[in-house]
């Protein structure tokens, strides 16, 4: 069983996350706070453990409210965690000072979903990409422009000199996302957090962006933490995938293993819900009832039990632990054995 503590010093892992928690306090009025018995929290991330190998793409997939974005942000230190441990390249991030953490950011970059919101509308594309260099490599100032131009060519903003002085509103959505990718990679990071990086792009442009991300990963020896709600897209980039439900990992393994042998009822439903572009293979099976519940008062026991067609009494009482049912395939369900044969 892959208990992360056993791999504490394993050189293969770039990122090791253990029992990560992020609770957001619920906004209430001062009067309510005075009389409330205890403070309420949104348990956005409630104890997740995973590792990312060097050079691997780990997908975090789940519906909105499952905590996937929060996990990403907390992992690279954009948000402070409530509890747990994040070890990046052997270094425990919580032991670092602000200054050390700032230096570490060079190695952990982010690509957000909305490129227009990520770019300063009054900064030229070249300057936007250059900013990371100015912060992290001030000593090589005279080479910055050349590095940026080279990077722009790499991501397909060609001819780079033409794009260098353009502004975000002058280029297309797909090109903007290329700028954001270039900006993330120019500091030569090890880990890239990609939060729904192609969700805003047009269908016909997505394949090109995905392809670019895979190519850059190989060229620059990158490791991706790839956040997505789209399981079909994940197939084309992720090596491994973690399925999240209400702040918990319910299943984690190689992507192909999970898709071929899903062991958690939620994963099974999620995979079945994804429409297939083939009118001859329309889905027949019914979908689980209800919607993802309120994370302030998550259901007791297994959080999926109120919606689960296989739920039994124990499911509402005891929270299932992640356990290894197939080689390197972890699932958090009391009754996952029944899906082993299918």
């Amino acid at each position: 069983m892959t208990i992360p503590s056993e791999n504490q010093n394993n050189e293969d892992y770039l990122v090791q996350v253990t029992n990560l928690k992020k609770w957001f306090p619920v906004q209430t009025s001062f009067i309510d706070q005075l009389f409330a018995e205890e403070r309420e929290f949104v348990r956005a991330v409630d104890g997740v453990t995973f590792n990312i190998k060097r050079g691997e793409v780990l997908g975090l997939a789940g519906e909105s409210g499952s905590g996937k974005t929060t996990i990403g942000r907390v992992t690279i230190g954009l948000d402070e965690k409530t509890d747990g441990e994040v070890i990046f390249d052997g270094i425990n991030l919580s032991t670092l000072s602000q200054e050390q953490l700032r230096k570490m950011r060079r190695r952990m970059q982010v690509i957000f979903q909305d490129p227009l919101a990520s770019l300063n509308p009054r900064m030229s594309l070249g300057d936007a990409i250059k900013q990371g260099l100015e912060i992290h490599y001030p000593e090589t100032k005279d080479q910055h422009r050349d590095i940026v131009l080279e990077m722009m060519e790499e991501v397909g903003l060609s001819p780079a000199k033409f794009f260098y002085n353009k502004f975000p509103h002058q280029i297309s959505g797909g090109q903007r996302q290329r700028v954001v990718i270039a900006r993330a990679l120019v500091t030569k990071p090890d880990l890239v957090l990609a939060d729904e990086p192609i969700a805003m792009a047009d269908v016909s442009v997505r394949a090109l962006l995905l392809d670019l991300m895979v190519k850059l990963k190989n060229d620059y020896n990158l490791t991706y933490l790839f956040i997505t709600h789209d399981l079909a897209t994940a197939k084309y980039i992720c090596d491994r995938i973690a399925i999240l439900y209400l702040g918990k990992i319910v299943e984690i393994s190689d992507l192909r293993e999970v898709y071929a042998h899903p062991l958690h009822p939620y994963t099974i439903a999620l995979l079945a819900a994804v429409p297939v572009p083939n009118p001859h293979e329309r889905r027949e099976e019914p979908m689980p009832k209800g919607e993802i519940p309120n994370p302030i008062h998550p259901p007791s026991g297994c959080r999926f039990h109120p919606r689960c067609p296989y739920a039994q009494a124990v499911c509402s009482e005891k929270e299932p632990e992640l356990r290894e049912l197939r080689p390197d395939h972890l699932v958090a369900c009391h009754f996952a054995e029944q899906f082993l044969d299918s």
């Binding site: 047009d202 394949a207 399981l231 429409p275 572009p277």
Partner: protein, 338 residues
């Protein structure tokens, strides 16, 4: 599937233009197609192709700086382009209703669900008593899988899926003949989206209503619709029953689009087609066929003349020079087998 086709709505040469600082944008350019009674027609395309404009134009809801610049919309034998404001007000809601992407912006945040439904009924049927309207509303809402006690809820107290079902209910309560669903499932999570898709299919059975499903999600259209119309840069480039579209796409854009969408099946489509370029800016659309700069089969004629929307087999139309003869064309015309 759609054998005895009775036409509900005929759209003929419909054009919509927007006036912008950079010039006229022809968002919908002389589009013609039919919507049949009781069918689910999927209208797919990328952002900016004009599909939402198309949907709004069917209810004459284009707001300035946009304008319907020509064409006819014939519904039940009458051209609604000739209707005056009163007739249009009655037409919207009673005959054709619309569901939008974000139900939160369509529902009134300070009105309860029952108030919404009663209002919808009484606006069109002022003689209906509130109690009668409430009874009708309750029956309908339950049919859509919302519990009766939810009638007293405000929109923010409902989940995203429930809100969208309330919107569907508002569309159905006046027995509209056509519901236009503009990206109605897009903001929903995949399981909720799948459930709403099931429900839309059920509604078609139960209420014998036609649905125009406007979406960028091609896989959803494969799950849901009987026929598919593909839009690109203000034109419908192909229309056919759903199986032939997916089995044998004729227009190079349809083919490229289908080859570029991810498929979750592990053994299928391991590599995605990477369509070159991006959708054009419609202030200056490409000459001739608007897809020619991105088309792998482009011929000299494609940039010169716009192809007709030709019926290549019964019930199947495609707007592409590959399938149309022309004296200036050197390549052989492809004959399509039915």
């Amino acid at each position: 599937m759609t054998t005895n086709k009775e036409i509900l709505m005929e759209i003929r040469d419909l054009s919509v233009e927007y006036t912008t600082r950079l010039g006229q944008v022809s968002a919908v350019d002389k589009i013609s197609f039919d919507i049949y009674k009781g069918e689910i027609l999927g209208l797919v395309g990328e952002s900016g192709c004009g599909k939402s404009t198309m949907g709004k134009a069917l209810m004459r809801m284009i707001q300035p700086p946009g304008k319907i610049t020509g064409g006819q919309i014939i519904f039940d034998g009458e051209d609604i382009m000739t209707y005056d404001d009163d007739q249009m007000r009655d037409f919207r809601g009673r005959r054709v209703s619309m569901i939008f992407q974000d139900p939160m912006t369509s529902l009134n945040p300070v009105q309860r669900v029952d108030e919404h439904v009663i209002e919808a009924i009484q606006v069109h049927e002022p003689e209906t008593k509130t109690e009668t309207a409430l009874k009708r509303a309750e029956k309908l809402i339950q049919k859509l899988g919302i519990r009766k006690n939810r009638m007293n809820s405000y929109p923010h107290q409902l989940s995203g899926g429930m809100r969208q079902r309330v919107m569907v209910g508002l569309g159905l309560v006046l027995n509209a003949d056509l519901i236009v669903a503009d990206e109605a499932t897009t903001s929903l999570d995949v399981i909720v989206e799948a459930k709403l898709a099931d429900q839309l299919r059920q509604i078609r059975e139960d209420f014998d209503v036609s649905l125009l499903v406007i979406t960028h999600n091609i896989a959803l259209v494969a799950e849901l619709s009987d026929r598919v119309a593909v839009m690109y840069a203000g034109h419908v480039v192909e229309i056919a029953d759903v199986e032939p579209i997916f089995d044998n796409p004729l227009h190079p854009y349809t083919k490229g689009l289908l080859d570029s969408i991810p498929n979750i099946k592990l053994d299928e489509k391991e590599v995605l087609y990477k369509m070159p370029g991006e959708p054009p800016n419609l202030t200056h659309p490409p000459s001739g066929c608007r897809f020619h700069p991105r088309c792998p089969f482009a011929m000299p004629i494609c940039s010169k003349y716009e192809p007709d929307f030709k019926e290549v087999t019964p019930g199947r139309q495609v707007k592409c020079w590959l399938y149309i003869d022309h004296p200036e064309k050197e390549q052989a015309t492809i004959e399509v087998q039915a």
